[in-house]
């Protein structure tokens, strides 16, 4: 567990073995990889962006316990309704007071006792939402996606939580392209608008840290801009044009 931006955003989760048993593992790669969810501390409560994988359930509950005060309200925002984002909701609800669960998409409704709040943001646009009293985040709907996806931008800290994008950090020789395995459909698409959208998202915001759902984060304005440029380039190269 580590603090991403001066105590405002904390990274939770643990490591997995990235190997042939993992669908997003590039061929031949064998190493550990961080799988993350993030806690955003607000003035009167906290916002958890994704809930980590079930393999890390006990660790995440323990990490949350250290960061949360008893009875502190918690709101959950899901970047996707995929298993790696939502399966720990029931366990978290057993230990903490969850106000609401924000999610996007249609087929999958996250299982929770709290109020599920479905949110639809048109791809390529964003929406500011007060996800908990006193915490307004910008929900960005990127074109870089497989399933309905939200990136969560925290204007107060400059943290951008990017779900299944920017996932190549943490290897000895990070290769941007390695993080794009999940987006194989790019190879049959004109990816220029998708690449441009990545550039736009970073141009329009003061991004000071990128927190991906897996892989290590990128910290610092220059680093973030550089990574965004490289990702846009990798996306463009993967496509047909």
């Amino acid at each position: 567990m580590s603090s991403l931006l001066s105590g405002r955003i904390h990274r939770l989760g643990g490591d997995i073995e990235l190997d042939e048993r993992v669908s997003w593992c590039p061929p031949g790669v064998r190493r550990t990889q961080a799988v993350n969810c993030y806690l955003l501390k607000g003035p009167s409560g906290s916002v958890l962006v994704d809930t980590g994988i079930r393999l890390h359930r006990a660790d995440i509950i323990e990490q949350l316990g250290r960061l949360m005060s008893p009875g502190e309200p918690l709101s959950i925002v899901l970047t996707r309704t995929e298993m790696e984002c939502c399966l720990n909701i029931p366990a978290i609800e057993e230990h903490f007071t969850v106000d609401s669960v924000w999610y996007t998409g249609g087929i999958t409704v996250p299982r929770s006792k709290a109020e599920s709040k479905r949110i639809a943001v048109d791809p390529g646009t964003s929406m500011r939402v007060e996800v908990l009293d006193g915490v307004v985040v910008e929900l960005v709907s990127p074109l870089l996606r497989l399933l309905p996806t939200l990136w969560v931008f925290d204007p107060e800290s400059g943290g951008l939580l990017t779900s299944d994008a920017f996932t190549h950090g943490g290897s000895a020789a990070p290769e941007t392209r390695e993080g794009l395995r999940k987006f194989r459909w790019f190879t049959g698409a004109d990816t220029r608008p998708i690449a441009r959208n990545v550039g736009d998202i970073f141009r329009d915001r003061d991004v000071r840290a990128v927190g991906p759902g897996y892989g290590t984060p990128f910290i610092g304005t220059d680093m973030c801009l550089e990574q965004a440029g490289e990702l846009a380039r990798a996306i463009e190269e993967m496509g047909i044009q």
């Binding site: 298993m83 639809a120 698409a189």
Partner: protein, 280 residues
């Protein structure tokens, strides 16, 4: 923003062919004031030796699914669970199924499942595309998923009922509320829908066959990326499989079961072309 209360309806199971059953249920949502449904289906294939379940259905239907299984299987065990891919509507009931049927194995492309269900890791068995499982008097074959979202998706085929199982593919056989209009809904809504009363119908039993426009509407919503990619090649692959594996029924996870395979292939391909032509 769109608060969208979803409730689930109890739906009876449907017998499709000898030893082949359509299980699961529908979820319903409110789309612009109108109640619409979408199937979250599982299919049970019962052979003389073993029984296999395609997709686990959604946790919202856990009790329903277990009851349906019991109804068909009675004292017989469930031997195999084949989640087509690790998403909640397709694999979310794995724990309940594996607890209820302690001998059952999880088969398919089982990458990632150890991250989601580590306590059951000893029960995962890889079945690659092309491999087969002998169910006794019938054989279940795993196929590549020609149209999919997640990388570790597989389709399947049962030679007993001559039925192909296509997961998120072909999920558009439904009426579209305010047909063709996109109304107030954002592009992001990914549910292919039908109206109440059209649950568990075969495509040929629907009041009218879907038009290319309706099919395209559902297709573009269910699989966002198909707006950017020409999937005509994928159809070549599907047709090649259909040439070698006779197929009378196609079972999508979220659409009506297709009993007019040739007609639906044509409509579907036209729909995909339309989505691609308009989508980028």
């Amino acid at each position: 923003m769109n608060e969208n209360p979803v409730k689930h309806d109890a739906v009876e199971l449907r017998w499709l062919a000898d030893g082949t059953y359509w299980l699961g249920g529908c979820l319903s949502a409110n789309a612009q004031g109108q109640e619409v449904h979408y199937h979250v289906s599982s299919y049970l294939v019962v052979g003389s030796k073993a029984a296999l379940l395609v997709d686990t259905g959604d946790p919202a239907h856990r009790a329903l699914l277990l009851a349906q299984l019991e109804l068909v299987l009675g004292e017989r065990p469930l031997d195999y669970v084949f989640p087509t891919h690790p998403e909640i509507p397709h694999a979310g009931n794995l724990p309940a199924l594996l607890d209820k049927y302690p001998e059952a194995l999880v088969v398919g492309d089982v990458r990632d499942y150890h991250l989601h269900f580590p306590e059951y890791r000893s029960r995962f068995r890889t079945q690659a595309a092309g491999s087969r499982i002998d169910l006794g008097d019938r054989e279940f074959r795993f196929l590549p998923a020609f149209i999919r979202d997640l990388e570790n998706t597989l389709w399947g085929h049962d030679d007993g009922a001559r039925m192909m199982f296509v997961s998120d593919g072909f999920s558009f056989i439904h009426d579209v509320p305010a047909a063709g209009g996109d109304g107030a809904a954002a592009e992001d809504d990914d549910e292919p829908v039908h109206l109440p009363g059209q649950c568990r119908l075969l495509s040929g039993e629907m009041p009218e066959p879907p038009t290319v426009e309706q099919a395209a509407y559902g297709t573009g919503r269910a699989l966002y990326w198909t707006k950017f990619v020409d999937v005509s090649d994928a159809f070549g692959g599907i047709e090649a499989v259909l040439d070698t594996l006779p197929t009378k029924l196609i079972g999508p996870a979220h659409g009506n079961v297709i009993d007019d395979v040739d007609g639906m292939l044509r409509t579907s391909l036209a729909a995909h072309r339309k989505v691609f032509a308009e989508g980028h």
